[in-house]
Amino acid sequence: MTLKKDKLLPWAFLALPLAMYLIWVILPVFQSLLFSLTHRDTIMYGRKFIGLGNFVRLVQDPQFHIALANNLVWLVFFVGIPIPLGLGIAMLFNQEYPGARLYKTLFYVPMTLSFAVIGTIWAWIYHPDFGALNTVLRLLGLEGATRQWLGDKRYMTLALVFVGVWRQVPYVMILYLAGLKNVPEELVEAAMIDGASWGQRFRHVVIPMLAPATVVAVTISVIDSLRAFDIVYVMTNTKARAAEVLASYMYSSAFHYQDYGYGSAIAVVQFAITFAFIVAYVNNTLKNELQR
C-alpha cells in the first residue's frame, strides 16, 4: 500500500528534517561521547585525549557522588509516588458524573506551568519565616517540625523532589486516563457479577489492561527524573551543592567552570542510566504504533 516509484523521493522529503536533526541532535550525542574522553578547558580548542580519565575522576569526586545519590532519590520518588497516586486518581476521576470533567481540567493545571513558575511559587512556600509550609506547622502547634526547607542540606533534595512529584502526578493521571479508555466497562461488570472482590478485579482485570499505559508512565517518569534541572536551577540557583543532581552538576561543570570534558562525562553517565528506559519506551511505541 505504499508508493515505490522513485527510491530517491522519500529522501527529498527527509533531507531538511534529517539534516537539522543531524546537526542539533544526532551529531551532538556522538560529539559528547567523544568529548567525554578528552580534557578541554576552552570549548573550541585545546582538547587532549585522556581516555577514561574523566570517568576515573568522577568515581573519586565526592560532589559527583552527591549528585548521583540525589538523582537516585529523584528517580525513586518519581516512580514510587506518581505511578500509584496517578493511577488511583485516574480511577476516581474516570466517571461520567457531572463535574468530573472540571475536576480533571483543574487537576491538570500544574502540568501546564513552567518549572520557572513552579519553582518560584514553591520557593516562597518553603520560606522559613513567611512560607506557608512552616506557617501551617506552627498553626498546628508543630513548631518543632518547622525546617529551613531550602537552607538545610538534609531536606533540600526532598523539598525539591516533592515539587517535581506535585507536577508529575497530574501527568501520570493523564496517561492512565488515556489507558482506561481501553478497559471495557463490561469486563469490570462481568467480574462483579462473578462476585470477584474489588481488589481481585483490580489486580486481574484492570492492571493487566493498563500495562501499556504503565510502561509509558514509568519510562517517562524515569527519563524525567534524570532530566530534572529546571527546578534545581530555579530554586537553588545551582549554588546549593548539596541539592545538585547530574543535570545541574553537568551544567555547572561545563558552563561555570569551563570543564567541558568533565561536563560531557557527566552527561554520558546521565545518558547511560536512561538508556535502558529509552530502549524500552521505543520498543513499546514501535509495537503499538507500527501496526496501524
Partner: protein
C-alpha cells in the same frame, strides 16, 4: 455500574465528590497562594503569614510595576518572538519528514523513525556542549535565530513521530488517484496531505507552543544577554533581585504562567491527545 445496588452507587458518588474536591483543592493551593500574593501589598504580607488567605485589600499595582519597571513586558515579547517561529518552523519541517515516513516504503523507513523517537528522549545535557560550540562557531550565540533553530530541530523528533501517525490514517486512494493523473509528490503533499493534517497540526502546535514557552535550559545556554532573555529566565533572575518583594515575584509568576494556562484551558482536548501518545493503544 448498572449492577451496583442503589445505596452503593450513592456511597460511591459521595466519595467521588468529597475526595475529588479535596484532591483538587489540595493540588491547587500553591497556585492560589501565588494568585493571592500577587494581589497583596507588602505590608499585608508581612502582617499576616497566612498566604492562602485572599487579600484584604486587592492591589493591582504589582502587575503594572512588574510589567513596566521590572521589564516583564520585554521578557514576554522575547518569548513570543522565539516561540512563534519555532512552532511554525517545527510543524512545517516535521510535516515533510512525516510525509516521507508515512507514505513511502523504503528500507530505512523504520530506522529513521527510531532515530527521531530516540532523539526526543535523550537527556538534554548530551546536546548542550556540542550545540553551544556549533552555535558559537556560526555566530548564533545571543541571537534569536540560534535559539529558534535549536527549538525547531529538537522538537522534530516528537513532531515527526506524531504527524506520521496521523498521516498513516489518510486513505491511500487520496494519494494514488492524483498520482495517476500525473501530479508530483510535492504537489500531493502540499495540496492534499497538508490540508488534511491541519487539525492534527493545530493540536501539535498547541502543545509545542506551551513547551517552547516554558523552556528554560536551552535559552540559558544560548542567550546570555538580559535584553534577549525569555520570560522563564526573566522570572528566575527576578527571584534573585527582588528577593523580599514577594508580591512582585508572584505577579511575575502569574504573568509568565498566563499564556500556557489560557492555551491549555481553551485547547484542552488537543493538549491531552498530544501528551498521551503511546499510552492509549494496547
Amino acid at each position: 455500574m448498572k449492577s451496583m445496588s442503589n445505596s452503593r452507587r450513592v456511597a460511591f458518588m459521595t466519595a467521588f465528590y468529597v475526595v475529588g474536591t479535596l484532591l483538587v483543592a489540595t493540588w491547587l493551593i500553591p497556585i492560589a497562594i501565588a494568585f493571592f500574593t500577587s494581589l497583596k501589598s507588602m505590608d499585608e504580607i508581612m502582617a499576616s503569614p497566612r498566604m492562602w488567605a485572599p487579600p484584604k485589600k486587592w492591589v493591582l499595582t504589582n502587575f503594572a510595576e512588574v510589567w513596566n519597571r521590572v521589564g516583564m513586558a520585554r521578557y514576554v515579547l522575547n518569548t513570543i518572538i522565539i516561540a512563534t517561529p519555532s512552532v511554525i518552523g517545527t510543524l512545517l519541517v516535521s510535516s515533510l519528514g512525516a510525509f516521507a515516513l508515512a507514505f513511502y516504503k523504503f528500507r530505512l523507513n523504520k530506522p529513521v523513525l527510531i532515530v527521531f523517537i530516540t532523539g526526543m528522549l535523550i537527556p538534554f545535557q548530551m546536546l548542550l556542549i556540542p550545540v553551544y560550540r556549533f552555535s558559537d562557531s556560526m555566530g548564533l550565540i545571543n541571537t534569536f535565530p540560534g535559539v529558534i533553530l535549536f527549538h525547531v530541530a529538537f522538537q522534530l523528533g516528537f513532531c515527526t513521530f506524531f504527524l506520521r501517525n496521523f498521516m498513516r490514517q489518510v486513505p491511500f486512494s487520496l494519494i494514488e488517484a492524483p498520482r495517476i493523473d500525473g501530479a508530483s509528490d510535492f504537489l500531493i503533499y502540499r495540496k492534499i496531505v497538508l490540508p488534511l493534517s491541519i487539525s492534527s497540526m493545530a493540536a501539535l502546535g498547541v502543545l509545542e507552543f506551551t513547551w517552547i514557552w516554558n523552556d528554560l535550559l536551552l535559552s540559558l545556554i544560548l542567550l546570555q544577554v538580559d535584553r534577549l532573555k525569555p520570560v522563564t529566565l526573566g522570572l528566575a533572575n527576578m527571584q534573585g533581585e527582588f528577593i523580599s518583594n514577594y508580591n512582585m515575584i508572584a505577579a511575575g509568576s502569574i504573568i509568565a504562567a498566563g499564556a500556557p494556562l489560557v492555551i491549555f484551558l481553551v485547547f484542552q482536548r488537543y493538549f491531552i491527545s498530544g501528551l498521551t501518545v503511546g499510552a492509549e493503544k494496547g
